[in-house]
Structure formats: C-alpha cells, structure tokens
C-alpha cells in the first residue's frame, strides 16, 4: 500500500515540534515560496487543489476564502482547534507533534487573503498541546515567521493562541466566535456567515487545524498535483481517527476514496478476535450509523453522503456485538444533552427529553410505542435550531432507531418484564424519577 503521507510524514520524529527539526526537514520553505507569489495566486493554488474543510462540514477552502469581501475592512482568520466531536482526535496529533506545520499553513492562508490578525482557538482540555503550540508560536515569532514584516516581504501577522475551557459547542464556528469574544459560546444566526461578518463584526475566515496544516503541502507540490489524489470531488489525503472495538485504534492518513473496509480491517485490524462489527459511525458521533454490509462504501465526502451519512470529521467509531443499540443511544443522547448550549428550545428540550426517555427504556417504564415518540422528537429537532448540535444527535439516533428497531422493542419488553417481576422496592416509581430531575422539589 502506498498511501502518500503529507501531514503524517515521519510525524514521530523526535523534536519535530521544535523549529530546528521542522526547518531541517524543509519546513517554512512553502512559506518562502508563497511570499514570492501575488496573494491572489496563493488562493488560486488552494482553490485548484479542491481541498474541502477537514473539520466536519466539508466546504471548499478556496471557495470560503473567496467569500471574503474585497474591501479594506479589518479581517481575521480563526483556526478552529476546538476538536471535541466524540471519536475525533486527529488535530491533537498535529498540535502535539507538528505545530509548526499548522503555523506555516496559517501564515500562508493569511498572506493569500490579506489577513493581519489570526487566532488559534484550542480546546481547554488540550493542555499539553496548548503548551507545545504556544512554544512553537514563540519560536516562530523569534525566527521572524510571525510578527512584523515576515521574511522581509512586508507582510505582517499577529497570531494569538486562545485556550477554551471545555464546551463542545465552541467547535461550532459562530459559537467559537462568541467564545473568542469573551462571552458564553452561543451560536449566532446565519446568515450573515462569518466570512462576511464574524469576529468583532469583521469578515472572518475559519478553518480547521488539518485544513490549514495541508496548505504548505499544497503550495509545495502545487494545487493541480494535490487534486490528482483522492477522488474528483474529494481531493487529497485525510486524517482518520478510528476508535472503538478495533485492534489498532489511532490516527491514520488515507487517500480519500479508498473503501472503508481497508481502513477498518486493513489499517485498524478489524474487530477484536471472535467479535463482529455491529455498527459503525463513519464521521464522528454526529453521523448516521452504517452497518457492516456498508463497509465497502468508498470513504469520501460524496460517497458517504450517497450512503445516507457523512464524512464529518473523519472519525470512525466501530461498535461490536457486545454492546446494545440502547447503550450507544444513551451515550450519544447524554453527550448532546450535556453539551447543548440552551439557546434554542428544540435542541435544549429535545436532547434532554431524549436522554430521559432512553433512561425509561432501560428501567422498564417505556412501551414500544415510545420508540415512535422518540423518533418524532428527532424529527422535530432537525433543522429547527441556529446550529446543528441538535441535528447532530437527531441524525445518528434516527438512523439507529431505523436500523435497530426490532432490538430496541425487544429490549423495552424485556426491561418491562424484568421490572414487573422485580420486588416492589426495586421498581423505580415515576415520582422518584421526578425527584431525580428536580432535587428539592419533593
């Protein structure tokens, strides 16, 4: 197998997080090259590469940059390093092991779009990564890759590393902007999109860590050359985080368009011996689940969309037959209910009631009819909120309900039977459930 490696090329080389090693490997050469071009040519090169955003939405980076208004308004670039999607840990590896690649890509992107102030919003839990990134930024400042008049080109850029403090919603681009402005991370109404009106009301380009880290490679080999990799609409390579019931969980760099089976069985070693795959999330916990028979789908943006799911952040979570569909649903619902920011009612209430209803599935207080109610709640969340956090719960749960309905019905019935046979003290009465929800109310 000859997968081209860009970001993960010898990533475990000791000291790669330092400027000395990164430069020895040809680091910042792409920046020198880019600074020779006119700014527009840099954006053209990125557009030619066809690279799509690696954060989840899969929007073309070149197109996003072209949405920035052509005027003198003060504009910003924000790198989204608030990687919190369950199952995703690819950016962590970049931030920890090769932060200079991100900085180089960021400077090139800013040069191409005439941006002079940039921020990297890194999730608060990544303490080690934030330290290493800050150290790399300091080194880059000292070496003249950041700051005033970068490498004598006349181009200046200020870069600030901003640590979050633990909120999934701050990975949503407008929630991130609010958080970066010093507020609670509540998403904003779109439009206006951030490219028109974002940070401090100025035009703002928001890109994922992996997307920006790919930019130096695009400049080095040329956009057209990069576009030859992958498929026509999903070009290049992608970092995949694979976890769950597989033998070799971890991050892998793959060429987009290879069969998912090659990733799950080839790279990650497949399920543990004696077990079989029950379902898998192809793109983080927000993506509708697929079944083992879907493993031959090509792993790229459009093929997965055709299969009724999405590539998302490129996080595959494999679940084997030892886990029940209800367990998976409860974990998903608990997460989104906890992380809902509370701004939009369908999401705040929908995630919360989904969590509570699933708890009743397990205690024997539900009937199979509740599955339909649950499915209708998911329908009512979809598309009714400012951001897609609610949808991100509704999509996987809706797909699990559809694909594992028989199992859920069986589980509900057996829980009912168990509760009916249990001594009266063990049964959870409705009032006690209320007390749990409202401490102090009874």
């Amino acid at each position: 197998m000859s997968t081209p490696h860009f970001i993960f090329d010898r990533i475990d080389e000791p000291g790669l997080n330092t400027l000395a090693v990164y430069e020895r490997r040809g680091g910042y050469e792409s920046l020198r090259k880019a600074l020779q071009f006119p700014a527009d040519a840099v954006v053209e090169e990125i557009s030619a590469s066809g690279i799509r955003g690696r954060g989840g939405a899969g929007f073309r980076m070149g197109q996003k940059a072209s949405f920035l208004p052509k005027n003198d308004a003060v504009r910003y670039l924000v790198c989204n390093a608030d990687e919190s999607e369950p199952g995703t840990f690819k950016d962590r590896e970049i931030l920890q092991k090769t932060p200079h690649m991100l900085i180089e890509g960021l400077v090139i992107a800013c040069f191409g779009t005439n941006i002079h102030q940039a921020f990297i919003y890194i999730r608060g839990e990544y303490e080690l990564q934030a330290q290493l990134l800050q150290a790399a930024v300091d080194e880059a400042y000292a070496a003249g890759y950041l700051g005033e008049d970068i490498l004598g080109s006349g181009f200046s850029l200020e870069l600030t590393v901003h640590r979050g403090a633990g909120a999934y919603i701050c990975g949503e681009e407008t929630g991130l902007l609010d958080s970066l402005e010093g507020r609670r991370g509540n998403p904003r109404l779109k439009p206006p999109f951030p490219a028109v009106q974002g940070l401090y009301q100025g035009p703002t380009l928001i890109n994922n860590v992996e997307t920006l880290s790919t930019v130096p490679h695009i400049i080095r080999i040329g956009g057209a050359e990069y576009a030859k990799l992958g498929t026509e609409t999903s070009t290049g390579t992608k970092l995949i985080s694979i976890s769950g019931d597989v033998q070799r969980p971890g991050n892998y760099e793959i060429e987009l368009g290879i069969p998912a089976r090659d990733i799950v069985y080839g790279l990650a070693g497949g399920p543990k011996p004696g077990h079989e795959i029950k379902m898998w999330f192809p793109g983080g916990s927000s993506s509708p689940v697929l079944l083992p028979e879907d493993l031959d789908v090509a792993y790229d943006f459009d093929s997965l969309q055709k299969a009724g799911t999405m590539l998302g952040s490129g996080a595959i979570i494999v679940i084997d037959e030892t886990h029940t569909a209800l367990d998976v649903m409860r974990k998903v619902a608990k997460f989104y209910s906890h992380e809902s920011c509370g701004k939009c009612v369908p999401c705040r209430e929908g995630t919360n009631w989904t969590k509570k209803m699933l708890a009743r599935f397990a205690t024997g207080d539900a009937t199979p009819m509740d599955i339909d109610i649950l499915a209708s709640i998911q329908q009512q969340i979809m598309g009714h909120c400012l951001c897609v956090l609610g949808d991100a719960m509704a999509m996987p749960l809706g797909s699990i309900i559809k694909k594992f309905r028989a199992e859920l019905e069986e589980e509900i019935l057996s829980a009912r039977e168990h509760a009916a046979n249990a001594p009266a003290d063990d049964a959870v009465p409705v009032l006690a459930g209320l007390a749990g929800a409202y401490p102090g109310a009874l």
């Binding site: 090329d9 000791p14 633990g166 402005e181 985080s241 991050n251 998903v332 007390a435």
Partner: protein
Amino acid sequence: MSALDSQAGKVYRFEHGSRVPGPHEGVELTKDPAAVPDPALTPVPDDLRAAIEARMARYPDPTSASVPALHLAQERYGWCSPEAIEQVACVMRLTPAYLTSVASFYDMFKLTPATKHTVFVCTNITCGLLGGDSVYEHLCAAAQGHSDVSVREFECLGACDIAPMASVDGEYVGPLEPGDAERIVEDLEQDRPVLEAKQLRRRPSADPYIGSGTDGASPAGDTPGAAGEGTTDAQPGGAA
C-alpha cells in the same frame, strides 16, 4: 409539600420563590447585582493583574480575554471563587455577574472549592463502551478518603485511541483498566508523574506508514503501541 400537590393543580414553588429549581445556595434575590468592582477597594495581586492585562492587550476587544483571565485566576486560587472573579472583574472592568455567567458556561471552570488534584474520566461513546464507566466507579472508590483528589465524569476529551482514558491534572493517560485506579490516586498523593507507561505524550502514532516518507515504501510492520501498554520514549519515526 410533594409533587402530588402540583398534580392537584397547585403550583409548587421552590424556597426562593421560583417555579424552577435554580442556584438556591448563596443567592440573595433581594440584593442588587454587584457593579464593576472599585479598584480602590479590590486588592488584586500585581502579577495576576499584569498577566490579565497582557492577555487583554492581545485582542482588539479586551473582553475577549475573559476566558483566559478566568483560567489565570483559577490557576492561582485553585477555583473561580467569588473573590477571584471579583479580582478579574476589577482588572477587566466587567461586572462579576458577567464573568460568573461566562465561567458557569464552561466545564473546566470550578465554581465550588476545588481539591488539589482533579481527575476527569471520559465516559463518552468510545471510552464508555470500552469500560469507562467502570474505570470511573473504581476511581471514585479509590479517591474515597483522599481529600485532595476529586474525580469527575467528563465528555469526550479527544483521546479515543487510548480509550478508556482519563485526564489526570491535564495529563492524558490510557488505556485504563479498573485496576489502575488505586495507582493513579497513589501517584497523585506521592506527587509522582501519573502512570508513566500509559501517558499519551509517550505514545507513538498508530499509522504504520509514517516512517516511510511520502512515497510510502516500507510499512513498519506491526504497529508500534497497538497494544498500548509499556510503550516507552522510543519513537519509531525516521526509519526512511
């Protein structure tokens, strides 16, 4: 008073007069909200003030520094105490209520007195399915009686490759087994590095082709660190 009353048509009200549960401890609803603290009456340590002001200078709008400033205060005082928030508010010229609303939004800010050590245990999808709940229960049990260690369930910490994992004072460790709980608490008590063999920072990448350059010539065979146990500082990269 019971929930039956509300079912019979009476509206139940909590002690503070509201129909919904709220922060009932230490809230004085009759008191006016606190104004921006008066610098003359609010002593702020010089180094904290300087650090916050340096952060504020990094942003076009100084309010942007509220989350970093709260981090600084929490590092200094161990938690975002009302006094700590007042000091930050004083330097940033914001009301304590504003900063409290910000601090309460984020999971990492502690609004109650905190212990010296904090363990976040991931119980999200991957970790939860691979035994995170059991690790959490064992850690809770192990921390019983240790007043300077607190254990908390946390949502995905972004290290599903070492599931089930925990963040021990910010140090990611995994894959954990229930049996590791005692050792983690012991390491914390003795101020030793936590579970060194299982620290994420020592773990090499799983991708078997990383050593082979962009052409991907010779796969490195068995993935280093696949079993995740006993990986040491030895980095497998640079084989090309």
